[in-house]
């Protein structure tokens, strides 16, 4: 008997699992022609099977959890390591406290099996316009740290995405962590619309982070997923929300601006018209939810 394989086997490649960052960059150097990075592998394995990529080497980050994993807070910053899985993020008390929207998104990605292995860094690096982790990070004003042989650099998360499946990583760089301002008094929420309740791409996702004082929103950020070539910060909507009264009327106005800023396409998953409408509905609902959670009548 031989194991049945429907697809021809994935063409062979070198496999490297460096133990240190130095070894990691060494490995990148040694495979100048083409390497792929694997963390959870939930995107890469599919791409390999579909022959969307044919790397000469696959560099596995699994032994670098010390350097690239972990979730901690120091000096007012919540740092989430690139290798943190969605399951870890979903159950982490610090994330719950400082980045509730990210927790909500993490809890809804894929299935339990996927959440147990897929990583935040991988979700960002794949740069899908529908990446569920991106709108919460953008709304929370997070930045992403990119690490290369010659050092590290930091970008706002929204600047990290440069197009559908395109990001700002240079050859030889990896996503090492995400830094989220850990401000007290900022609350954040996330929601999405989808055809079914689990294991599904979001038709639209929205995240909002804001503080509320004396019946008014403080600095506010509205971020949108799956309605543009990349996850986006809805700038007009965020500006309008900042400083506005926390009322139903304002929620309507901010949501309408967000819908205007969305630039969705029509495809077999949804029409542009419907996606814009969803941005309006979900944004308004999130604002109303924040208002009600703040105890404003």
């Amino acid at each position: 008997m031989r194991p049945f394989q429907y697809l021809a086997p994935i063409p062979s490649f070198d496999y490297v699992a460096p133990r240190t960052l130095a070894e990691l960059f060494e490995a990148f150097n040694g495979h100048g022609k083409g390497f792929a990075i694997i963390a959870g592998g939930t995107d890469l394995m599919v791409a390999l099977k579909e022959r969307a990529v044919a790397p000469e080497a696959v560099v596995d980050l699994c032994r670098l959890r010390g350097e690239l994993g972990g979730i901690d807070v120091s000096k007012g910053v919540l740092r989430v390591g690139a290798l943190a899985t969605f399951s870890q993020i979903e159950s982490d008390p610090l994330v719950r406290r400082y980045a509730n929207a990210l927790r909500q998104a993490a809890a809804n990605v894929g299935t339990l099996q996927i959440r147990s292995i897929a990583t935040l860094g991988g979700n960002l690096a794949t740069a899908s316009p529908a990446a569920d982790s991106a709108p919460p990070l953008i709304a929370l004003g997070a930045s992403v740290t990119l690490l290369g042989r010659s050092g590290q650099r930091t970008l706002p998360v929204q600047s990290f995405f440069t197009g559908p499946k395109k990001n700002a990583l240079l050859r030889g760089e990896i996503v090492s962590s995400v830094e989220i301002p850990a401000g007290e008094g900022v609350s954040s929420v996330w929601t999405r619309a989808a055809v079914r309740n689990e294991n599904v791409l979001s038709t639209v996702s929205v995240a909002i982070a804001a503080s509320i004082h004396d019946g008014r929103f403080g600095s506010s950020r509205v971020a949108l997923g799956a309605v543009a070539p990349t996850p986006i910060l809805a700038e007009n909507s965020s500006r309008a929300m900042t400083g506005s009264e926390a009322t139903a009327g304002q929620a309507e106005r901010v949501a309408a601006l967000a819908a205007e800023e969305a630039r969705p396409i029509s495809d077999i998953r949804a029409s542009a018209h419907y996606r814009k409408h969803l941005v309006f509905v979900l944004t308004r609902r999130l604002i109303l939810q924040m208002v009600s959670e703040a105890g404003i009548p």
């Binding site: 031989r2 049945f4 021809a8 619309a193 309740n197 689990e198 077999i268």
Partner: protein, 760 residues
């Protein structure tokens, strides 16, 4: 013949699923788990065009790909290239033209799947594209591209009862509407697979299938006299739902052709994408329907025309249309009925058999229109149904007088009570953006092959060590039928279920019991097995009577023993009794055959089946009117299928049917553009997850009839049939207006709400 009265309800004898443990442990060997080292891989060269002439097939480059052993085209087929269940219109390998995207053109046979894959890319087919037609309405217009030599009409059927014209005129009002249904994909876990082994003068094929004897017949056609004997073995099969009714004929024939040409074992197995492209789906149908109603709530007439898109080949279209046409009026007393149905060829993927077989479509149109009429009447839809519902003694809309075992009314009454229907209808949809709705739908399911004669043969044999072996051509592909057979035999012989085993179907070993389709296995196979087991019991009783000195008529079989009724003194163990029979050289092998004669059907009416199954479902939904998302929050399914043989399995069939029906109702829709399937994988063809299916309350109504074993009727399909309609009516109740097209995806529901708002 009358139903056997059981001393105790058979359901108390619960038997665990025969295949549960090995499947849970991952020990089950499916077709692709049996690939031997020397097996060749077969891949199919498929048409990229929906309609094109084949000018030339150049396989010279492909033949030079390392590892490619042979390329096969239609020319290499030793027998006939044309197979098909109703009409032999589908070439195994196209030679003159292709009729849909995915049509099979050639086989690449290679040492590895890698070589086969490369070989497929190197087969150069020179096509001359032809104009194509994708819309069933366009297909019959003059000047439409002609897909088959005889034109694009596949079949027509009709029902005539009374005078529908007159009935509509006499009605106090008439409701009219156009209803349309989507293409549904069977989405079974295991995609198609066949492994063929050539022998010196025969061919053995192991494969995933519902009907080994149909595969045998197809293969005899394709291999012709080249192979005098073909033997088909059904491998454990991971789902079928009708999709493996006729597709395995082709898959197995292709593997066999490859094996015959190369004299080596050959495997053909499909990826998910190929499976989606290849096998026949659930027909999309359009119903133009009108129903006359009198002011006292009686239906006076139904007139409907049905147009089905059958895709590129006939498959089961003609049969599916017949079922849709004959159930289109619904399970109601309607004196005047006029139904016309047409199924046509298009250049879409073929449509064919799928659990429910035309009834989910017919039920959607009929049941939505029932609620529309109820609204006009200002009457509760449950009440309106009760005024018209079929009962024992009713004349069905096909003209048949139903004599007994009509549990529909009780299903409705109990589903209504258990779902708190009256209270919830009174409460109404509520005020917020999320509206609640509750809806009901009924179904009627004729037993056995529809409009055809039907028969099944099975054998039961007792071995010298007291094992009971059942042989039937009816296949287990996930529905649990073999466990049902164990129930029946162990009940008749009074043995523990452990003694009874069911042989995996193998055409050299088991009798032909007809196809495993149409919810017929329990009724036909079960009855054939029951008859065989009763003959054996008769023989055993005779021997036992001599051993125990009492008349054979009073011998009771239970607890693995035989004893005389009313006497406690003597009993003989089952094994001892069997040994005695063997000592006496008695033959302990019996066959049973159960026959349903050709039903009477003429001039659009007749008696379709001696027996019918019924169900009434109630769905409760919450509709988010801003996003259009429909959440099914409660579900009640009341079924009448005669006597229930196993409650556990009966309920799991219903629950599975409802879950698959909820997929059909809410999200499943194969999207084609210019004949190309846009959602071939589960990324975009959404089936429900556990998170989308609510708790399903099942209600079992028992109305035993005189037909099946112990008065049982079939249950495999009824569970899916009324689901889309029940959900549709619940959405109607929530929104206040009907949406006559589904699935009720968030966007479609939102669009309907938006359109309604813009009109008012």
């Amino acid at each position: 013949m009358t139903a056997q009265k059981l001393e105790e309800p058979i359901r108390r004898l619960e038997v665990p699923r025969l295949d549960a443990l090995e499947k849970a442990l991952g020990e089950t060997k499916y077709t692709t788990d049996n690939v031997e080292e020397d097996a060749l891989y077969v891949r199919v060269v498929r048409s990229p065009h929906p309609h094109a002439l084949i000018r030339r097939i150049d396989s010279s480059r492909a033949e030079r790909v390392p590892g490619v052993v042979r390329i096969a085209t239609a020319r290499d087929i030793p027998g006939s290239n044309y197979i098909g269940y109703v009409v032999q219109d589908r070439p195994l390998l196209c030679h003159d033209k292709v009729r849909f995207v995915g049509d099979s053109v050639a086989l690449v046979i290679a040492d590895t799947s890698e070589s086969a894959e490369l070989g497929v890319q190197e087969v150069k087919v020179d096509y001359e594209e032809l104009p194509a037609v994708f819309d069933p309405g366009e297909a019959l217009k003059p000047g439409a591209p002609k897909i088959h030599p005889g034109g694009n009409l596949t079949a027509r059927h009709f029902v005539r009862l009374g005078d529908a014209e007159e009935g509509l005129v006499r009605a106090d009002f008439v409701v009219r509407g156009t209803y349309s249904t989507p293409i549904q994909e069977q989405a079974y876990l295991e995609t198609e697979a066949a492994l063929a082994y050539p022998k010196s003068d025969s061919m053995v094929v192991l494969g995933s299938m519902q009907n080994p004897f149909m595969v045998k017949k197809a293969m005899a056609t394709v291999l012709g006299r080249a192979v005098p004997n073909v033997r088909i073995i059904q491998a454990p099969t991971g789902g079928g739902f009708g999709g493996k009714q006729d597709a395995p004929d082709e898959v197995c024939s292709m593997a066999a052709l490859a094996a015959w040409l190369t004299k080596r074992p050959a495997l053909l197995a499909f990826s998910r994408e190929e499976s989606a492209a290849f096998h026949p789906k659930r027909h999309p149908m359009i119903f133009d329907r009108e129903m006359g109603v009198s002011s006292d709530g009686k239906i006076t007439a139904v007139r409907a025309s049905i147009l089905a898109d059958g895709g590129a080949y006939a498959s089961l279209s003609e049969r599916v249309l017949f079922v849709a046409v004959t159930t289109a009026a619904g399970p109601y007393e309607i004196p005047n009925v006029h139904i016309d149905g047409t199924t046509v060829y298009t250049n879409n993927v073929p449509m064919g058999a799928f659990r429910g077989f035309g009834k989910p479509q017919a039920s959607f149109a009929a049941e939505l229109q029932m609620d529309e009429a109820a609204e006009r009447l200002g009457m509760d839809p449950a009440e309106f149904r009760l005024r018209n519902i079929l009962k024992a003694g009713s004349t069905a809309p096909t003209g048949q007088v139903l004599t007994s075992s009509v549990g529909l009314e009780e299903c409705l009454v109990r589903a209504r009570a258990d779902s708190a229907w009256d209270a919830k209808r009174r409460t109404g949809p509520g005020q917020g953006e999320k509206k609640r709705g509750i809806g009901m739908a009924c179904t009627i399911h004729p037993e056995g092959l529809n409009g055809e004669a039907d028969a099944a043969t099975a054998s039961v044999e007792i071995t010298a060590v007291g094992q009971v072996v059942v042989k039937t051509g009816l296949t287990e592909y996930g529905q649990g039928i073999h466990t049902g057979f164990v129930h029946i035999v162990s009940k008749v012989l009074g043995t523990s279920p452990d003694r009874v085993s069911v042989v995996m179907p193998d055409t050299d070993v088991v009798p032909d019991s007809g196809p495993t389709v149409a919810s017929r296995s329990t009724v036909f196979g079960g009855k054939a097995i029951l008859l065989a087991a009763e003959k054996l019991r008769g023989k055993l009783a005779k021997v036992a009577s001599e051993m125990l000195s009492c008349p054979p008529e009073v011998i009771v079989f239970e607890g693995d023993t035989a004893r005389c009724q009313g006497r406690d003194d003597g009993r003989v163990g089952f094994e001892e009794l069997v040994s005695e029979c063997f000592r006496r050289k008695l033959n302990l092998k019996e066959e049973g055959t159960f026959v349903k004669p050709l039903p009477f059907w003429e001039a659009g009416h007749g008696d379709l089946s001696p027996s019918y199954t019924f169900a009434v479902h109630v769905a409760e939904v919450e509709v988010d009117t801003e996003t259009g998302k429909v959440e099914v929050v409660n579900y009640t399914a009341a079924h009448e299928s005669g006597t229930v043989i196993s409650r556990d399995q009966f309920e799991s069939q219903i629950i599975g049917g409802v879950a698959q029906g909820l997929g059909y109702a809410l999200m499943e829709e194969l999207i084609l553009k210019d004949g190309i399937i846009r959602n071939k994988t589960f990324l975009d063809y959404h089936i429900p997850t556990a998170a989308d299916v609510p708790h399903i309350r099942t209600i079992i109504v028992e109305a035993p009839d005189d037909f099946g074993p112990f008065g049982a009727k079939g249950v495999g399909e009824a569970g899916i049939e009324p689901v889309a309609a029940a959900v549709g009516n619940a959405v109607y109740n929530a929104l206040g207006f009907p949406i006559r097209r589904f699935p009720f995806t968030p966007e479609r529901v939102y669009e309907a709400i938006e359109e309604r708002a813009s009109r008012s």
